[in-house]
Symmetry: C2
Subunit: 328 residues, 2 copies
């Protein structure tokens, strides 16, 4: 039985291409003492991956050329030399873009939601939405919360959480289909189409009382435009800047003065900073999933060999909901 | 006896000029019940004044054409119909650019420091430094604090406070004379000359462990360059953006990504938000003045008619220390 894995072949400059990756075949590894051998079922694709394959400094070490691409997976334990995990267990792993792998860092999935949810609304994106909004955004009932990439894995949870906490929620998404979904299915109060070409005017109309909390997943024009509409004492969660990741020159922000004039608190976040408290978020979000008050949508690519295509699509906003690769 | 006052004649576009102001003569007003008539002795000139004469939205209402220019003064009560103030009292007032004025809002100066200090290190600039650094910057002993406009009214207090709280302090100032003063007289650990043309390289050398707290009074190149050197979990106090105030196009910031990568907390501040706590700052700062551990320097223009020239000089960085107009 052979393993298949995708390694980084070269670093992209600007947009990622399929040539930046290479599919390899290798023997399935044997677990050492303390490890499990896992068969991966689902691979998560996330915007942060663009940072890991770039040369620029980021918050963690990048992927080296020839190394297996990083990523979270949901899988099933095939063979265990781990003290508490056993064959058959479903686990969350950091095994990356491969069909099989050995690790000490698998954690058992205990809930009964669909397995892929543990990579989305009940996984890292869900935790990101929960802690960013609760700890940095701190929306009060009646305040206006704006979230960019509103139909995405993080944005969709942010908006539904903010609604459940009593805020007025406005999304920003790309295209009429995503906007309709955000409004009609996810229950946002409004959703603005950034592809329509009138972002400032449309956002202003959708936020007649200004913006109190901005949950920023996109950056560039989205962030710079929202800066013009922020209220006094408003908060900005800088969670992602996907619109910048593929630029060869960084975006030029023109509206920083708003930070001073409006006494804005703007804060960058990485979900790992709250890892001691994941249980708290998982409990709240699982309850919402059970009660069907947290809806989610997935974009699924079939087969490991198509993972590069899936990532490229995600980076271009081609996904519609949480981007996954189905491995088995 | 006639009053003299300076009114706004026209709004500047870009740099302020003397033609934007007009000197007028008017009768000295009579105090109504509850008011005092004050003879102004010192007028404070501050960067925020640029915002008040511009058309752009700011945090408070601007000065209308024909209105007396705003500003804090220190003066002496000439005649009192106020319940607690009496003739001869020294007071802090919002009377602006004029020799005499009536107001209900004068507050008695109780300390024994030189009167002009209550417009500088013991006045609004001192409060700004104190609360911005303490509440937003939160420097820990051994951390690196950078402050721009380091020889100015706010920056000089920021640096000396940060030193007294155990931080390593690096200033940014314009020209070798100011840098020498900041280092040798104010006791900063280093001071970088932004006019030397190598801001990034020089700052990097002066901050070998990166920047933990940035107290930003200038903005534009200063802020954008510091963003490249900020540490993980660092803080930025956005207190002033004087380098932007005279630009007709806002500055283009290129290094916003650092906010995400380094989980920076960046916050705009206006000192009025802490007005309930001014007493706390005044007590601490007065003690430092008495002990001679808080040094200050003043740039004095003589005569009300020269106030416009003083403001223009301040906006161009021509002042060296707290900019004042001596009125009597």
């Amino acid at each position: 039985m052979d393993n298949k894995r995708v390694v980084l072949a070269s670093r992209p400059s600007g947009w990622v291409t399929e040539e930046n990756f290479r599919l390899e075949t290798a023997p399935v590894p044997k677990p050492a003492e303390g490890e499990v051998l896992v068969k991966n079922l689902w691979l998560s694709l996330d915007p942060y991956m663009r940072g890991r394959i770039s040369d620029a400094k980021s918050y963690v070490k990048g992927v080296d050329i020839g190394e297996v691409m990083v990523g979270q997976t949901v899988g099933q334990v095939v063979e265990s030399k781990h003290p508490t995990l056993k064959a058959g267990d479903h686990v969350l792993t950091p095994l990356g873009w491969q069909l099989y792998g050995v690790t000490r860092e698998a954690s058992k999935i205990r809930g009964d939601a669909p397995l892929s949810y543990y990579l989305g609304c009940l996984g890292m994106p869900g935790m990101t939405a929960y802690f960013g909004l609760k700890e940095i955004g701190q929306p009060k009932p009646g305040e206006t919360v704006v979230v960019s990439a509103a139909s995405g894995a993080v944005g969709s949870v942010v908006g539904q959480l903010a609604k459940s906490w009593g805020a007025r929620v406005v999304g920003i998404a790309g295209g009429p289909q995503k906007c309709a979904y955000v409004k009609d299915e996810l229950g946002f109060d409004a959703c603005v189409d950034h592809k329509a070409g009138n972002l400032h005017r449309d956002l202003k109309e959708a936020c007649p009382k200004g913006i109190d909390v901005l949950f920023e997943n996109v950056g560039a024009e989205s962030l710079d435009t929202c800066l013009r509409l922020m209220n006094v004492f408003s908060r900005i969660i800088v969670c992602g800047l996907i619109a910048e990741y593929n630029l060869t020159e960084p975006y030029a922000y023109r509206n920083m003065r708003s930070v001073l004039v409006n006494r804005i608190r703007m804060q960058g976040m990485i979900v790992f900073d709250w890892r001691e408290r994941y249980g708290e978020a998982l409990k709240d979000l699982s309850k919402m999933v059970q009660e069907k008050s947290l809806k989610t949508r997935e974009s699924v690519v079939e087969g490991l060999e198509n993972a590069p295509r899936g990532l490229i699509s995600l980076l271009k906003g081609g996904n519609f909901g949480k981007q996954l690769v189905k491995l088995a």
